[in-house]
Symmetry: C2
Subunit: 562 residues, 2 copies
């Protein structure tokens, strides 16, 4: 494989890679030109026809990639996901990848895309990180059409008696724009709306994104949209999209966004990239439609969940998998020596130094996530994502710690070597699937109360000593139960950096209590969000935004992007 990887940037590697026409990629998985809707030569949506036709086919096997709690050192979960897909094809398996589509907002702020890295990337990475096929723009539009329709309803007589102080539907932009977090709208006099407090989230935090990612098809999408609670009336009863009678219009705006996008990796492995909800206030994984289509099209599908296993994998298993009637056959838990050393107490500046004590201490974070996945009754493999700074002593210690506990693991060098660098990982994963004797079991049942569900997640997944509900959360538990919302799964909004709700507690904290500040119903998506700590749903830009480095030459090639 290419050995000079380490000195090239992701965008240089991406632009230097030769893509096949997406028609040829589709042909490999049995999809003809008529079932594709092209967006240029290298991106295509799958038609409703083919999605429908696929339903009778048998499912392949799903492999879920998750990780330890993320740190500033970076874990490379997307990179391992892409590289594992390439590696499976390399060892003769018929594999596909299903990934989230990245939000454009953060691209303007910090360098770094969300389409893998090094020689394990999906292409065309510049377009995937910019407008892609317009899915997120369609969601922005649907979200803001709904917001405009709500304010217009107030302005035009307020037949539904919506309490302007209790409108919970916020506007969104796919942009990092802190000045929009808290705004007052409707100023300027009677012709310009009803003044009220409002705010903007980033588009991927819209409930419409979560809804689109959990919908089975266009009809299910419409039914879910209709159930979204946008406000409460003066008697504090919920007001839904269905009450406003605009679920048809919103579905129409999303009719193309709901179709999954086919692209390819550097090694031409087919990848469906579709949907990307937040992993805190939402469930953080690509669309059900894409995952299910991929399972019909390939024998093995590698997919990714958000953040660490405490948030991403838990939600994948309790929300997405249960909702869609699917389950992974194996889970890959990504770790790096660098990140484990941070969990063991090092600062980012100290990561270059060998530190076996920190590594051993930090290993406890990985161990907790392994216990969790094991608790679900799922086979797993730890993927150690290699960095050139890892010392051989550190690697040996890592191997020793895994072997002591009988933890199956493999090195991943996909960033540097592409699929070839993931062959051992792929073989280990296949072995884990073939030898599995366990049975998957969710940790809680939908018939548990919301309070029980939150307690189970906190204790079994986070290792918490208990849960404390604020008085607001307590009264919401009663209210939601009255409204029949106790049957929903819970979506925990917690910091991704710690198993606890305190981002500074790295490693494997113990004896902590999870404080639930408030609850937020996502009735359309079909879950109840439990908010712990401060959850940011509209990021800001840094002092020197990445936008200042970006440019495009006269033939349309991006520069300074990542």
């Amino acid at each position: 494989m290419k050995q000079k990887a380490s000195i090239k940037s992701d965008i240089e590697i991406a632009l230097g890679s030769e893509m096949k026409n997406i028609k040829d990629i589709a042909e490999k998985i049995g999809i003809g030109e008529d079932d594709l809707e092209f967006y240029g030569k290298y991106k295509a949506k799958l038609s409703f026809d083919i999605l429908h036709k696929l339903k009778t086919k048998e499912d392949g096997k799903l492999i879920l990639v998750t990780s330890i709690n993320p740190t500033k050192a970076g874990e490379g979960k997307s990179t391992v996901t892409v590289g594992l897909g390439d590696a499976l094809n390399k060892i003769g398996k018929n594999a596909m990848i299903a990934l989230r589509e990245p939000s454009l907002g953060p691209v303007m702020g910090l360098k770094g895309g969300a389409a893998g890295g090094g020689y394990a990337q999906v292409l065309p990475m510049d377009e995937i990180n910019l407008h892609f096929t317009g899915d997120i723009h369609a969601i922005t539009t649907a979200n803001n059409a709904l917001a405009a329709l709500i304010d217009n309803h107030l302005q035009q007589g307020n037949e539904l008696q919506i309490d302007p102080r209790r409108i919970v539907w916020k506007r969104v932009l796919d942009m990092n724009d802190r000045a929009l977090r808290n705004v007052v709208v409707g100023l300027g006099g009677p012709a310009h709306g009803i003044p009220r407090e409002d705010g903007f989230d980033i588009t991927v935090a819209s409930e419409i994104m979560a809804v689109l990612c959990l919908a089975e098809d266009l009809e299910d999408l419409k039914a879910r949209l209709a159930r979204i609670v946008v406000a409460y009336d003066y008697r504090q009863n919920p007001v839904t999209v269905g009450n406003l009678r605009v679920e048809g219009a919103l579905t129409l705006l999303l009719k193309d966004a709901v179709k999954p996008n086919l692209v390819q990796t550097i090694e031409h492995t087919p990848a469906l990239i579709h949907g990307g909800p937040f992993a805190n206030i939402a469930h953080g994984c690509n669309s059900v439609i894409a995952t299910k289509a991929a399972l019909k099209l390939a024998d093995f599908v590698v997919t990714e969940s958000g953040f660490g296993a405490d948030l991403g994998a838990e939600k994948f298993l309790h929300i997405k998998a249960r909702n869609a009637g699917i389950k992974p056959e194996a889970v890959v838990i990504v770790a790096t020596i660098r990140a484990l050393k941070m969990h063991g107490g090092l600062n980012k500046e100290e990561l270059g130094d060998e530190d076996l004590a920190a590594l051993q201490a930090g290993f406890e974070n990985l161990r907790k996530h392994i216990e969790t996945i094991d608790g679900f009754g799922l086979p797993f493999v730890v993927a150690l994502n290699r960095f050139s700074t890892d010392s051989s002593q550190e690697i040996s210690l890592f191997e020793k710690l895994c072997n002591q506990d009988g933890i199956p693991f493999a090195m991943s060098e996909v960033w540097e070597k592409g699929g070839q660098g993931g062959v051992h990982l792929a073989e280990t994963v296949i072995k884990a699937i073939e030898n599995n004797k366990k049975t998957f079991e969710p940790l809680y049942s939908l018939s548990d109360t919301l309070e029980e569900k939150i307690n189970i997640i906190a204790r079994k997944v986070y290792g918490a000593a208990g849960v404390e509900f604020s008085s607001q959360a307590k009264s919401q538990l009663l209210q939601f139960d009255r409204l029949g919302w106790s049957r929903f799964p819970v979506c925990m909004a917690k910091t991704q950096y710690s198993l606890s709700d305190d981002p500074s507690k790295l490693g494997r904290p113990e004896g902590f209590v999870i404080a639930v500040r408030s609850l937020k119903p996502s009735v359309g998506a079909g879950f109840i969000v439990a908010l712990t700590g401060d959850i940011m749903t509209m990021p800001g830009l840094p002092k020197k935004p990445a936008a200042m480095n970006m440019d495009v030459d006269e033939t349309g090639n991006a520069t300074g992007l990542f």
Copy 2:
């Protein structure tokens, strides 16, 4: 031709028409598959390569379609534009169409698309009226990235010393959302921005839309973006995009939006639909890139300007044509009996009744626009867009009035009959071009002062007795002259309903004075906007928004759209 037209809706006719693959349409005009970027089967963008290659080809002849002052009766300017293109092909000419792309916002509000009507439509009309190829979403994104970067600059130390009270760059959404016209942003404390008054426009009112539509290519686009004035500093000096150093990033966000979109009419005439700036605070016509490409690809290109000839044609000729170094060979002025009767004093409810006196009185509005076009030294043809309610007496009177003054005219029945209904119009236009002895001459020179330019437009185009400048406008005239902005053409923001600045004065008002309230520099686009009266740059939704009728079936077909 199809005779049952009158009982089918536009969307029914559109969905019932068979489209050719856009590859076949492109082939007819000599564009191969490699130079197309497909968006599904029926839409494609032209590549930078083909745009570059075309530059050496000879230009075809441009035909500009404009109209009398619009009324609530409707004129059908887009319909005539599309039908004339079809008709020219029918009589053996090689013709193309260049049109604006419609804004999605109004589609959610009022029934009615912007892609022609009846049997003179561009297809796929549902997609053209929804997200199309994402151009407007890209402009929304670039506009709001810039807004976020400005607020971030304030937050991060304000190196450029921007006065937060003098930020003139507004955010935009492609939505009718009156509650966003006047807002306060940056609330919530020190982590959430600097509180200030702000507002949202609809996306098509963004200066970036005007910039994109006047740019020659990607380099020119970047240079224009850099010149946009976004704010003034504490010393009241302009602060530009170039000062913020983000013109590269904005150009990158627009790299696909700048490529024109190829679609087809019901009769398979190739049409470029690209860009759609407001016709009041901007110049209101499709992109220069699209018009120039069409002129290279066809012998005759039919294009449209915004509103009536007083606004749209004046701006086309003084701003777009001068900027791009092109000129029309003939102008078509669209009128209807119904609209002329409204100009003659009738209400909308009375239009069904024959009223010769009202028609004769209203004819004066048409006569003024004819005089204006004649004053530019351009040959013209009046197209009477026929309605089934027009009486034969009314038609005879119209013909008599035209013949008396030697006004060349033709009936248009393209709504009902497609190109066949425009054959006589097409022949009359060709004759006007062939027999032309006049020479095109702008009414003012760029070296005239802004005050002189405004006076010339008001007197010669509107028939005003004079112009009154507010004290604010007067001090701006001095300020803009100091800043070197007097060299720009003027873009009048005036009501479209009247030749005057009072929307209630229909027909041909006389003795009125145009009141210029204030000026607004669009330095990137390259014009100075003169604001008269209240110009709405963010529409609202009506009591029963069209969104309430919209739906989509399980196979993705739109219903209730128009």
